[in-house]
């Protein structure tokens, strides 16, 4: 399933590539016709990418996918690692402006404080693409698009599955929620998306909700306490795989069977989570994919050809059941 998607994307990419080089073979005329769009040959393009750092496995997979995608597409990539510091990222972006790259892409470390450097890029005529994280700038002309996951939709997908799963339930279904780091965008958005999706069925009730800080240890401790303070738990919604994996251990220690006595839904789909899903310990996973390299290439190509792009592009993401996890697991990259 996943393999075919990748193969399809790759072949689509190859097609686009040949089409573009075909266009470049008839010089100058097309460049002038598309109304000031650069429309350079792909191998002449230079894109500067300023990454957040290497703070998690998710991020490492994100970096690797972007680098690989650029290599496959034959576009030159200048890459910098900001080590989670905004000043490093601003320095990197300034140096890209001085080098006169064609496009700048970056995942902002924090949301605020970007107007100055983004205005410099705008003045230099270099389009900016945001990946994975947004900036809270009022001036939407400072960047072309924001390419990343929709956390609300992720929570909603999880909630939809729960609703479908218990649509015939006649008694109350007790759900406990393991939230991400308090105040973080994914935690807030996934909670609201989930609550929205289950509110149609009065039998579905979130009886307890606590933060497990997105970590295994956190998920385990919270779940241990829930198992003792809640008389009956039917379902766990963990806002990432790691907390779900922690919850599995707590449930097993309490002498119950995860996935059967207590059902588990998580978000992320990292390798360990997928393993637990195919073992039947997790029932459903909503993907939050770091693999946005191909979509980034797509945006660069569209901008290069002078085609307009949407202000907001959502990462292509799917959901997994146990069978789909079994099929996808052998070539899971992260």
């Amino acid at each position: 399933m996943r393999k075919t998607i990748v193969a399809f994307a790759a072949s689509a990419l190859m097609l686009a590539l040949t089409a573009c080089s075909g266009g470049a073979a008839t010089p100058a005329a097309t460049g002038g016709a598309s109304g000031g769009a650069p429309n350079k040959a792909l191998d002449k393009l230079v894109v500067g990418f300023a990454q957040v750092g290497a703070e998690s496995g998710w991020r490492t997979a994100n970096t690797k996918d972007i680098q690989d995608s650029f290599k496959t597409a034959g576009i030159q990539l200048k890459f910098s690692d900001a080590q989670q510091k905004q000043e490093n990222q601003i320095k990197a972006i300034r140096s890209y402006i001085q080098q006169g790259v064609d496009y700048i892409a970056f995942s902002p470390v924090v949301q605020t404080g970007w107007d100055a450097v983004l205005n410099e890029a705008k003045a230099a005529g270099i389009p900016v693409i945001l990946t994975d994280r947004a900036v809270d700038s009022q001036d939407k002309t400072l960047y072309k698009t924001f390419l990343g996951s929709d956390f609300v939709a992720e929570g909603k997908k999880a909630g939809d599955w729960v609703t479908a799963q218990y649509k015939d339930a006649t008694s109350t279904v007790n759900i406990v929620q393991l939230e991400g780091t308090t105040g973080s965008a994914p935690a807030i958005d996934r909670s609201s998306g989930f609550a929205d999706a289950i509110k149609g069925n009065p039998n579905l009730k979130v009886v307890a909700s606590q933060t497990g800080d997105f970590t295994r240890a956190g998920g385990k401790q919270v779940m241990e306490a829930f198992l003792k303070s809640q008389p009956k738990i039917d379902m766990v919604f963990a806002q990432n795989d790691d907390m779900g994996l922690g919850a599995i251990e707590a449930i097993e220690a309490a002498g119950k069977v995860p996935g059967k006595d207590i059902k588990i839904v998580t978000v992320d789909a990292v390798k360990d989570g997928m393993q637990a899903l195919s073992d039947g310990k997790i029932n459903f996973i909503v993907e939050c994919s770091p693999l946005l390299g191909n979509q980034l290439i797509d945006v660069v190509k569209k901008l290069n050809a002078g085609t307009p792009v949407e202000q907001r592009i959502v990462t292509e993401e799917t959901t997994f059941t146990a069978e789909q996890a079994k099929a996808a697991l052998p070539n899971r990259k992260y």
Binding site: G57, Q210, R216, K220, Q221, G255
Partner: protein, 354 residues
């Protein structure tokens, strides 16, 4: 009778113990079965109290080491990073071995991690005792660099370890009691015996109270400081292994994150002064239990996550205020003023009656 009560209130562990009892009471009100401990089908003890004792063990183990360091007028901020390194080393060794379920493999990995932790402690000791750099600066170096080292070992990934003997450390049981709890109790007892049944505790306090005077009196302050930092890091290594084993994964970013603050807090709640000198291991034990009970209370009672920090801060502030000598004196004055006013009232009434 009143004398006994006064002496109990005056004891330095009185208010921390009251706080612990109050926290437990809140839980019992919220969940009536909170204190119940059952034996499950596998013969393991099961209940919220057991969770507190197990999850609190790593903090207690580190806090024991921290107590001795603080008693010498020092502090060790690097314990959290040492936790992460110990976990990362042991996990990657077990993962690299062809026989992850072999007891020998696991023992080897654990010993390597502990020797390394001890080495890191000696490095701290060298900076503090050997070179005379301020403890907060010396250990800050390892605190910052240590997580980087752990990240390098795990290559930035969360390493999952599937090894039965390794999992035993964090989630196994000995005679029904969690292994982590047994380890915590043993370490606490050993430290208490070593420092209170020998002159070592006295010497540590002497170094903390007045390093120069104790040196002139013939106390080998330098060697003592070396050993407390080494011991603290070794204990941090043990705690790190328990934490890593409990979550069956080495997480360089999060294992032992902020545990140095919890440990320092446990020591302070227990009545040991950060200025060094007199210390109380029993106080540290109560402090560690309060911190873990606080965490469990938040989950059991269902305090909303956004209010969690405020709730914790309120409890800690209350404990510190109750223990402060200034507050104690103010309370005493208030009580005696009340008593005087009461007496005056009685006298006035008596006068009016006459």
């Amino acid at each position: 009778m009143k004398n006994v009560l006064n002496r109990a209130v005056g004891h330095r562990l009185f208010w921390p113990l009251v706080m612990l009892a109050a926290l437990l009471l809140i839980n019992v009100i919220a969940v009536p079965g909170f204190l119940s401990i059952t034996v499950n089908s596998e013969g393991h003890l099961f209940g919220s109290i057991i969770d507190i004792l197990r999850n609190g063990a790593p903090t207690l183990i580190i806090a024991v080491g921290m107590t001795l360091v603080i008693a010498t007028r020092g502090i060790d901020l690097s314990v959290g990073s040492v936790c992460a390194i110990a976990g990362a080393v042991a996990s990657s060794m077990i993962l690299a071995s062809p026989t992850p379920n072999n007891v020998g493999t696991v023992t080897g990995a654990l010993l390597t991690a502990l020797v390394l932790s001890l080495g890191l402690g000696l490095a701290n000791g060298l900076l503090v005792a050997g070179l005379g750099i301020q403890p907060i600066i010396s250990t800050l170096i390892l605190m910052t660099a240590g997580r980087g080292i752990a990240m390098l070992i795990t290559e930035g990934q969360i390493i999952t370890v599937n090894s039965v003997p390794f999992a035993f450390l964090g989630s196994g049981f000995i005679l029904g009691v969690p292994v982590a709890t047994v380890a915590g109790v043993l370490i606490f007892a050993l430290a208490a015996l070593l420092t209170r049944r020998t002159a070592m505790g006295l010497l540590i306090e002497a170094v903390g109270i007045n390093p120069e005077a104790s040196r002139q009196a013939g106390v080998r302050a330098r060697g003592l400081k070396f050993s407390v930092y080494a011991l603290c890091a070794l204990l941090a290594g043990i705690a790190g292994l328990i934490l890593t084993s409990n979550q069956t994964a080495a997480d360089a970013n999060n294992t032992g994150l902020f545990i140095e603050l919890d440990a320092i807090l446990a020591v302070v709640i227990g009545g040991t002064s950060l200025a060094g000198g007199r210390y109380s291991l029993a106080g540290t034990l109560v402090g560690a239990l309060i911190i873990q009970t606080l965490v469990t209370t938040v989950y059991t009672v269902g305090i909303p996550p956004i209010a969690t920090m405020v709730f914790k801060a309120a409890v800690v502030t209350a404990v510190c205020l109750l223990q402060s000598p200034t507050t104690a004196a103010a309370l005493e004055r208030w009580r005696s003023r009340l008593a005087t006013r009461h007496l005056q009232g009685v006298a006035a009434k008596a006068g009016a009656a006459r």
